[in-house]
């Protein structure tokens, strides 16, 4: 981004400097409000109960208690939840991206009737509040013996992420040049070959964006797991953390450590791919 400062293009007057000061003050205050609770959480995760309850919340832990993390991970059973989250997330993201790419390819590249209807069905699905589907979904999964079974979670994640993923992909597919595909048609390539060998590789950047957005949604999802899963061995970190906190009510350090573990994977990804994540969040919202 170009850092051409318009406010500097005129000679600096004291008034202008005060104005700039106020603007920065606002931005810094908002940044502190957004960030400080997380700093506090991290400090909390390294404290003993005496430090939490007896001392100022702004104090640094005397000797950081990394045991809090080890206790949460092993004794609290967070490791099981964590691995469940990892594989549900990966499987659902892969399924969503493949299915959404298929649909978007058919919608933008192929010739058929009812395109408009199908597109509308996906778009309207995006607006339906998930909670209104919860009771019938529970019943459907129950009849199919999929309650307390990870399949119900993966199916739900995949389906409910399809509309937004298709929406983001559509914009990209429409902007993609078609010459190579048209040449491939001339050369007598089959549809599948064109899709897998030409179109899909060209969409790699937008696939990366949608993969990250999907990953964040799935990792943080709560209500499906809380409703459809009852055994500990199938729970995800989001729901597991909630149970953990219920059990270790008074051990704030361990609770803090658990919460940090649950948000760390996304934060690490964000550290490396922040621009892509922001781009995905913007693309997914405004086209709605």
């Amino acid at each position: 981004m170009k850092e051409k400062k318009i406010l500097d293009s005129k000679p600096r007057s004291p008034l202008r400097q005060i104005a700039m000061g106020i603007l920065y003050f606002i931005l810094v205050v908002v940044a502190l409000l957004q960030l400080y609770p997380l700093v506090w959480l991290f400090l909390l995760s390294l404290k003993t109960n005496q430090e939490v309850f007896g001392m100022s919340p702004f104090a640094l832990p005397k000797s950081p208690r990394w045991e809090n993390y080890i206790n949460a991970w092993f004794d609290g059973g967070i490791n099981q939840y964590f691995f469940n989250s990892v594989w549900y997330t990966i499987v659902a993201v892969v399924l969503t991206l493949i299915l959404a790419s298929f649909v978007t390819f058919a919608l933008t590249r192929m010739e058929w009737k009812f395109k408009g209807v199908v597109l509308a069905l996906f778009m309207i699905a995006y607006m339906i509040p998930l909670h209104s589907t919860l009771i019938p979904l529970f019943n459907i999964y129950n009849k199919m013996n999929l309650i307390d079974n990870p399949v119900s979670i993966i199916l739900s994640y995949t389906t409910f992420n399809l509309p937004i993923t298709i929406m983001i992909l559509l914009g990209f597919y429409q902007s993609l040049p078609r010459e190579i595909e048209e040449a491939a048609v001339m050369d007598g390539c089959s549809v599948h070959r064109i899709f897998f060998r030409i179109t899909l590789p060209m969409t790699a950047p937008v696939l990366a964006t949608t993969a990250i957005i999907n990953m964040i949604y799935n990792w943080n999802e709560f209500v499906f797991v809380n409703t459809f899963i009852s055994s500990e061995k199938w729970k995800t970190i989001t729901v597991g953390v909630n149970n953990f906190v219920g059990q270790y009510l008074t051990d704030w350090g361990a609770i803090g450590a658990t919460l940090v573990i649950s948000i760390l994977p996304i934060l690490i990804v964000y550290l490396f791919l922040s621009d892509r994540i922001i781009e995905g969040l913007v693309a997914g919202s405004v086209k709605g």
Partner: protein, 289 residues
């Protein structure tokens, strides 16, 4: 040669799986929600058809309207906070140094699950050892509030982490729209002697009004169906002080096993969300003219 791209088997292969998923896991459940609402049903065993009884009960259910009012309050609160976000994004988009870094910091809470945010803010609001009350005591305030435990304050206390969660999201979207405002228009206005406020108010904001309208709809619909954070933080309590539509539905269905009545509430939520979207679209279009 066009035949390759109108290969019927390929189209069916590509579209049908997703279409079936969306039909069976979104559209059919939505229709079933309305249908189950006509039943007396505990989730297991036989359904008993009772006609419109559940819907009649819903219309006279004080708790349902109380929950709806709380959801509507959240929607109003979310829409009002858009003004604050707009001011922040106008500052960010004025090509201020470090704007990109600020933007990246603001979005961080949005990356967390509502559950983690809820658990974190339960600790922040803790009357004895929480961050806020410790801060207030440092400033010498003796009578610190109870926050989530005070029925009169709980609802507004719950709104704070929700704003914290979504602020960055709205800011980055407004920012993305603002930096696309053509630079020539701003330059022209500046040459005509417009000051920063006038440029913001008369040029930038009207030019991004399309995005702002979408954000108003997102804020309202998102608020009406809001669930996770409130459910985890307060469970709708104390009493029903923070009950919202979705939490009321969830508790009726999966807490009390009133699946029939729960479905009626779920159907009410659907009608309200769709109705609100339609109404806002109408209202904002009228304002434009």
């Amino acid at each position: 040669m066009k035949n390759v791209m109108s290969n019927k088997t390929a189209i069916i292969l590509y579209v049908l799986p997703s279409l079936l998923l969306v039909l069976f896991l979104i559209y059919i459940p939505i229709a079933l929600t309305g249908y189950y609402g006509l039943m007396d049903w505990s989730g297991v065993g036989q359904m008993k058809f009772i006609g419109l009884e559940n819907y009649k009960k819903l219309i006279h259910d004080k708790l349902f309207w109380e929950s709806t009012w709380h959801s509507v309050l959240l929607a109003l609160f979310s829409v009002l906070s858009l003004i604050g976000y707009l001011i922040v994004s106008l500052i960010l988009a004025s090509k201020i140094k470090g704007g990109n870094l600020f933007r990246k910091i603001y979005i961080i809470p949005m990356l967390m699950s509502s559950v983690a945010i809820a658990q974190l803010w339960i600790k922040i609001f803790d009357p004895m050892n929480g961050l806020i009350n410790s801060l207030l005591s440092m400033f010498g305030i003796k009578e610190t509030p109870l926050w989530l435990a005070d029925p009169d304050m709980a609802l507004y206390s719950v709104f704070i982490p929700i704003v914290w969660q979504y602020a960055g999201f709205y800011i980055i979207i407004m920012y993305a729209a603002l930096i696309n405002v053509p630079q020539e228009l701003i330059e022209a206005a500046r040459i005509d002697g417009a000051n920063a406020f006038q440029i913001a108010y008369k040029i930038k904001v009207p030019l991004i009004s399309g995005v702002l309208k979408v954000l108003v709809i997102l804020a309202v619909v998102g608020s009406l169906k809001y669930f996770d954070l409130i459910y985890v933080m307060t469970g709708g309590g104390p009493g029903h002080a923070t009950e919202v539509i979705a939490s009321y539905m969830y508790k009726e269905a999966f807490g009390k096993f009133n699946f029939g009545y729960g479905s009626a509430i779920g159907f009410g939520l659907l009608i309200l969300s769709m109705g609100a979207t339609w109404m806002i679209q109408k209202m904002l279009r009228v304002n434009q003219e």
